[in-house]
């Protein structure tokens, strides 16, 4: 009796574990982000760069009256700057910081699709080989038979850390000639 009562509940929990992810292309590599933190996706329509900021802070854009920072995570991963093209999109994410939700835009080469990845299809991150800081990786998800990096938004877009970098970068900026 008891068992039959519990089974459906377990199944439901199992289904909830299969989360939806947005996959996108960045420098020819496919990454994915859980959709729960995504507010919206907009086509890149220009932004204003803020001078004297580290390169990963590409600028700010106007999202219906709110000024939202745009982060180039490719630069943050230590890779090349994301070039602006016709497919370029900005994924607007909600990042919690000091009890408040802050919007951060992430520049991507193009967005692919929303996929469902079951918990059992997610592998722990490899100890090396991804060329990414381990805490940036939430796991490796299997999508269409291929592994993609599921990004850990909390770390990749850690406001504290990024602010720290921008602060340090700025104040130690060497004088240009």
């Amino acid at each position: 009796m008891n068992k039959s009562h519990h089974e459906p509940a377990l199944q439901e929990a199992g289904q909830q574990d299969a989360q939806q992810y947005l996959t996108f292309l960045l420098g020819r590599e496919t990454f994915a982000i859980g959709i729960s933190g995504i507010r919206e996706i907009i086509e890149f329509g220009g932004m204003t760069s803020v001078p004297l900021m580290p390169p990963f802070l590409r600028g700010v854009l106007n999202l219906r009256g709110a000024v939202v920072p745009v982060v180039d995570i490719s630069v943050r991963f230590g890779r090349e700057e994301t070039p602006i093209g016709p497919q370029t999109c900005v994924v607007i994410l909600e990042v919690a910081h000091e009890g408040e939700i802050q919007y951060v835009g992430v520049l991507v080469d193009s967005v692919n699709e929303v996929v469902e990845i079951a918990a059992e299809d997610i592998e722990p991150p490899p100890s090396f080989g991804s060329m990414l800081r381990p805490e940036f990786i939430q796991g490796m998800g299997k999508v269409n038979g291929q592994f993609v990096v599921l990004l850990s938004v909390d770390y990749v877009l850690s406001i504290d850390e990024m602010a720290q970098i921008s602060h340090v970068a700025e104040s130690s900026e060497p004088a240009h000639e």
Partner: protein, 673 residues
């Protein structure tokens, strides 16, 4: 009945009254209080007691009652205000304040007076002589509390309560019962001028009215205040029955309280009093936000109309813009409060701290009426407090030292506020020893902040005081310390888009000058373009624009403007903007900040506009030369220039560049290249 709003009103009123109480007592330390002051002193506590009774804050009632007894004796002249008593009363003020704080937070109000306050009560009881101070004042029948007060007046009061009073949660009879605690009610007539028959009677509509005589020493404002919660729709008439006292030609003897003629006027409220509307700050902020959006939308419409070349449309939009501007000014104005709100806390602080330090210090305050944004007031209190404590502690020298340097032993601290070119300036000056340059440099070197003081201007040296890690336990006593250094002060002020200037003369004193924007929400700006980027310069800083004449020397970064040297900053250089073709004509925007001038070289001048300031957020907290952003009518984001910071960045870059060249030329020389 929802009492929470009424309670908030009570708490706020009580705190205001306590502030008055304190101000009066502090006044007594330098001048003797006249009968009006003593009457006012009495009324503050009396009013708190009365309102506290309404909410059943029995501990407050009880404690205030004891204080009030002493005050009544002061007023009647049977007791005189000695410094000791004054000190005791100040402590009592703090006691009431604590009880009020408690009333705010605790679920169940205190009934018994807590121990600390009870000790004060006992101390007061030993001062007050003619009436035994009851240990449990609650046992006194309320109606007789005022029997011993001799300057009672008679008032004829007629009230017809409004129809919705009951629905508003107010019981008129309870109101009058409270009134009866202020004195004695006689000749009561309860009236039901429009009471319908039972079948037509609405059980929740109020039909009641009263007509009676009140004998009380309470002021008209207090009596009138009884009806505060039932004012809507009510007709209230309060007339004095006591003959109007004709002011005597000769001044009344000091110990005899002058009859207050203003009591006799039917409506003796202070001008403006009671005409305030209390509005929740968040509501106002929402309004201001909306107005901000309106300004943006208005600008967008304006751009469209100009592009379409439609004159009629442009005219209509210009009318709308004017109106929006007025709404904006009106809305912002609602947030403006006099700076006196902050200043009034200082007399007590200065007095107490000076006392603690064994220094004799006089505080002078001026410009209390200067207005600034309410949200800034809250954020300024702590930094200002810190600066004042610092002046008390480190600024003013001990009396002996002052004497030996030929200064009056009594130190002076001056708090000042005024408006200057679109900013609010707050100044804290002391006539102390001033900042000793060598000492600061010594310490900064010791702390590893600088390598040597060579080449530093005085201003640069003084600003070392604001470096994190400068003030340490050694420099900061418990008093001014409170665990925060001056670096926090600087950070707080900068967060308000303000800046700090220090002026100091050794042996003569120090002035700390806080320069703050009038408001945090919207500014008038001047839009310029540099390369592909648009920047907004706060309009109140812009003096004029001139064309940049190509310099003969590519190193020279100043021009001569009407006989003065004007250094300039090329925004392209400082912001590293090199990805757009250099136009053939460029411009210098001459800006003024504080008492300095500088030029900013830009590509294009795009004209004046109003913008809503949007903070860039924490990610950009390291941004320099940028104070925020603004959304233009086109939807693009423009950055707002922080001129003083920009100059700082320019100074630093130039210095580094010079040093760099210097080093390079030396190494080249050393290597024999």
């Amino acid at each position: 009945m929802d009492l929470s709003k009424a309670k908030d009103t009570f708490l706020q009123e009580a705190r205001e009254l306590l502030q008055q109480f304190e101000t009066l007592l502090l006044k007594a330390e330098s001048a003797s209080l006249d009968s009006e002051d003593l009457g006012a002193l009495f009324r503050t506590v009396h009013t708190i007691k009365g309102s506290a009774g309404l909410f059943g804050f029995e501990a407050i009632v009880s404690f205030c009652h004891t204080v009030e007894n002493v005050l009544a004796q002061l007023r009647s002249g049977t007791l005189s205000l000695t410094p000791e008593l004054s000190q005791l009363l100040l402590l009592c003020r703090d006691g009431i304040s604590r009880l009020v704080d408690d009333a705010e937070v605790s679920e169940t109000p205190l009934v018994e007076v807590p121990e600390a306050e009870r000790a004060l009560q006992d101390a007061l009881a030993s001062v007050g002589v003619h009436e035994e101070t009851p240990a449990k004042p609650r046992s006194i029948p309320v109606a007789t509390m005022h029997a011993d007060v001799d300057d009672a007046q008679r008032w004829h009061i007629r009230v017809k309560f409004g129809a919705d009073v009951l629905r508003g949660g107010v019981d008129p009879i309870a109101c009058l019962r409270y009134l009866s605690t202020l004195g004695t009610i006689s000749g009561m007539q309860t009236l039901f001028p429009s009471l319908p028959a039972l079948d037509e009677l609405d059980p929740e509509t109020c039909y009641i009215g009263f007509d009676f005589t009140l004998t009380s020493s309470a002021s008209l404002a207090e009596i009138d205040g009884t009806f505060d919660f039932a004012r809507e729709g009510s007709e209230i008439e309060i007339k004095s029955l006591t003959p109007v006292a004709v002011p005597a030609a000769a001044p009344a003897p000091d110990n005899q309280p002058e009859p207050e003629a203003r009591h006799a006027e039917p409506v003796a409220r202070k001008p403006g009093e009671g005409k305030f509307l209390k509005v929740e700050a968040a509501k106002l902020d929402r309004l201001i936000n909306l107005v901000g959006e309106l300004v943006i939308a208005g600008a967008a419409a304006n751009v469209l109309s100009v592009n379409r070349n439609d004159n009629q449309m442009q005219e209509a939009i210009s009318t709308i813009s004017t109106l929006i501007e007025q709404i904006r000014d009106g809305a912002l104005n609602m947030r403006m409060v006099p700076v006196g709100e902050i200043f009034q806390r200082f007399p007590r602080v200065v007095r107490d701290v000076a006392h603690e330090l064994g220094k004799d210090i006089e505080l002078r305050i001026s410009g209390e009426e200067t207005e600034l944004d309410k949200s800034m007031v809250e954020k300024l209190t702590d930094p200002l407090m810190h600066i004042v404590r610092n002046a008390l502690d480190h600024g003013i020298e001990p009396a002996a030292e002052r004497k030996s340097s030929g200064k009056p032993t009594r130190g002076k601290i001056e708090l000042m506020a005024y408006h200057e070119s679109g900013s609010v300036v707050l100044e804290v000056s002391d006539d102390g020893g001033g900042i000793r340059r060598d000492k600061v440099i010594h310490k900064a070197v010791e702390r590893g902040l600088i390598e040597s003081g060579a080449g530093l201007t005085d201003a640069q040296v003084y600003h070392l005081l604001f470096e994190p890690g400068f003030s340490t336990a050694e420099a900061v006593t418990n008093l001014s310390g409170r665990g925060v250094g001056m670096d926090v002060v600087k950070k707080n002020i900068e967060a308000l888009r303000g800046e700090i200037e220090i002026e100091s003369r050794e042996g003569q004193g120090t002035t700390m000058r806080l320069r703050l924007p009038l408001t945090l929400a919207i500014i008038d700006g001047f839009l310029v373009q540099v390369g592909p980027s648009q920047f907004v310069i706060p309009l109140d800083m812009v003096l004029e624009c001139i064309e940049l004449v190509t310099q003969e020397s590519r190193y020279r970064r100043y021009i001569e403007l009407r006989g003065e040297v004007l250094p300039y900053i090329d925004v392209r250089d400082i912001f590293d903007i090199h990805d757009a073709a250099l136009p053939s004509y460029r411009y210098i925007v001459v800006v003024q900040y504080g008492n300095k001038r500088a030029g900013l070289v830009v590509d294009h001048l795009l004209g004046e506009l109003q913008v809503v300031i949007k903070p860039l957020g924490k990610l950009f907290r390291g941004a320099q030369g940028i104070s925020g952003s603004a959304i233009l009518g086109s939807g693009e984001v423009a950055l707002i220039l922080d001129v003083p910071q920009l100059v700082q960045v320019a100074c630093r870059q130039e210095k580094e560049e010079i040093e760099h060249h210097h080093e390079r030329s030396h190494t080249e020389h050393a290597c024999g290249k």
